[in-house]
Symmetry: C2
Subunit: 234 residues, 2 copies
DNA sequence: TGCAAGTTTTTTATCGATATTTTTTGTAAA
DNA sequence: TTTACAAAAAATATCGATAAAAAACTTGCA
């Protein structure tokens, strides 16, 4: 009986309360529910997330190692800050790692790898072309497509670091999501797909670099506007 | 009074018991005191490290995010396994990141950066030439030299990832430390120093790649021997 | 008013206790 | 013997309580 209750309440692959708290906090930070520099008071979070102090502290410890949260001595936890420099840093690193992952992927990818790229691209295409663009839907499809591209990469560490950077970047992208995406994303994705399927490493790397750079530029622009607006208020 | 006691017992910058446990566990894993795949029982560790369950669990959570510990759903923690594939993976990634960090460093490094390279190289040289090579001393000097080389790199994320990989690699290097280092490390380090000071990015990157590759090759050889020996026993 | 020392309140970090889950051990049937 | 099952033991994950630290708030004095 208790098992049934647990099965219903646990989300994703969260087997412990600590995992649940970790995933929820992570998601809330990425999606801007928890704002940069915001103080994360254990007592407050307890009520918010419905778990005790121990699992919360464990979750926050992990998020600290991931760079989503900062922890200072006896002064508790905060949501990690955001800055233009950090975005530039993440962008540069993401380009480096995603190019590497893509190269390895093109080298080792088999038929299943190709199929997955075709399939995820098609799904992404559908969302991009639809009138009512659901940002959440697009986010998932976009992630699936990028994952498919680097699925042939066998490096555990490259995947780990890339995953962290993707989500870090996603946090920046999310705060800039309000503005409509003006550029022709579809064309960029198509070029990426074709280059990968043609096993043209150089072309694919150039495409991914351009793609990440443009996304980052737009995000940076929105971030600057928001920063300016905040300063005007203060 | 209590403060004085704390000041004496706390090591490094560890402001909390959790930090202490984190640093000690990390060090013990890197230095092989805790063996790969070894079960980390909270109750046992409590006695060993003299802290309660909560700080230990927090420390283990962080180490999990760092990749030094694995955690499985209601089944506790283990020291992360070691394998030839993992070593190869770490090596490849380290080359990628250290080359990048070195490039940025050569580009942005100032006079202080140059001075630090010269100084740390000199200290490393001293240890390498001395008759009684203290591995612990060498380890520190080697780390200082490599840190100095990439000190000009401004990327927070690059430093973070590089730091993790350096320590992961160090774990592999430590288990292979018993064997005497036969190659001419000094020459490799000198080439590295000269190339960096000459601001020759290409040459420095080649040097660092060779350097890391050779270290990894020797480590791999010892790791293979140990694996074989273990299998013979079993 | 401005500042500084002392006091209260809040918050954090940690411990001990408990319920739940996993592993081990023991026992009987195939 | 081996296998299957049940009971016991061990270990984990979690909670509530407490001690220690930091922040906020007085209050006294120049």
């Amino acid at each position: 009986m208790a098992r049934t209750y647990n099965d219903q309440t646990e989300q994703n692959g969260a087997k412990t309360l600590s995992d649940q708290a970790y995933l929820q906090l992570r998601s809330d930070i990425i999606h801007g529910e928890l704002l940069p520099d915001e103080k994360l008071r254990i007592e407050h979070l307890r009520g918010e997330y419905g778990v005790g102090a121990s699992p919360l502290r464990e979750a926050l410890s992990r998020l600290t190692a991931d760079g989503f949260v900062t922890a200072e001595g006896q002064r508790g936890f905060r949501v990690a800050p955001m800055s233009e420099e950090d975005l530039a840093d993440i962008t540069r690193m993401r380009i480096l790692l995603e190019k590497q992952a893509l190269s390895q992927s093109i080298e080792h990818g088999d038929d299943a790898w190709e199929s997955r790229i075709v399939a995820t691209f098609y799904q992404l295409e559908k969302v991009e072309e639809s009138e009512a663009r659901d940002p959440a839907e697009w986010e998932i499809r976009n992630h699936d497509f990028h994952e498919a591209l680097i699925a042939g990469c066998t490096s555990k560490w490259l995947r780990r670091f890339y995953g962290i950077l993707y989500d870090q970047h996603k946090r920046y992208r999310n705060i800039a999501l309000s503005t409509e995406i003006p550029r022709d994303l579809h064309q960029e994705h198509e070029e990426l797909r074709n280059a990968a399927l043609a096993r043209d490493t150089k072309r694919a790397c150039d495409a991914i670099e351009q793609h990440i750079m443009r996304t980052a530029e737009i995000t940076l622009k929105v971030l600057r506007e928001e920063t300016r607006r905040e300063q005007e208020i203060a």
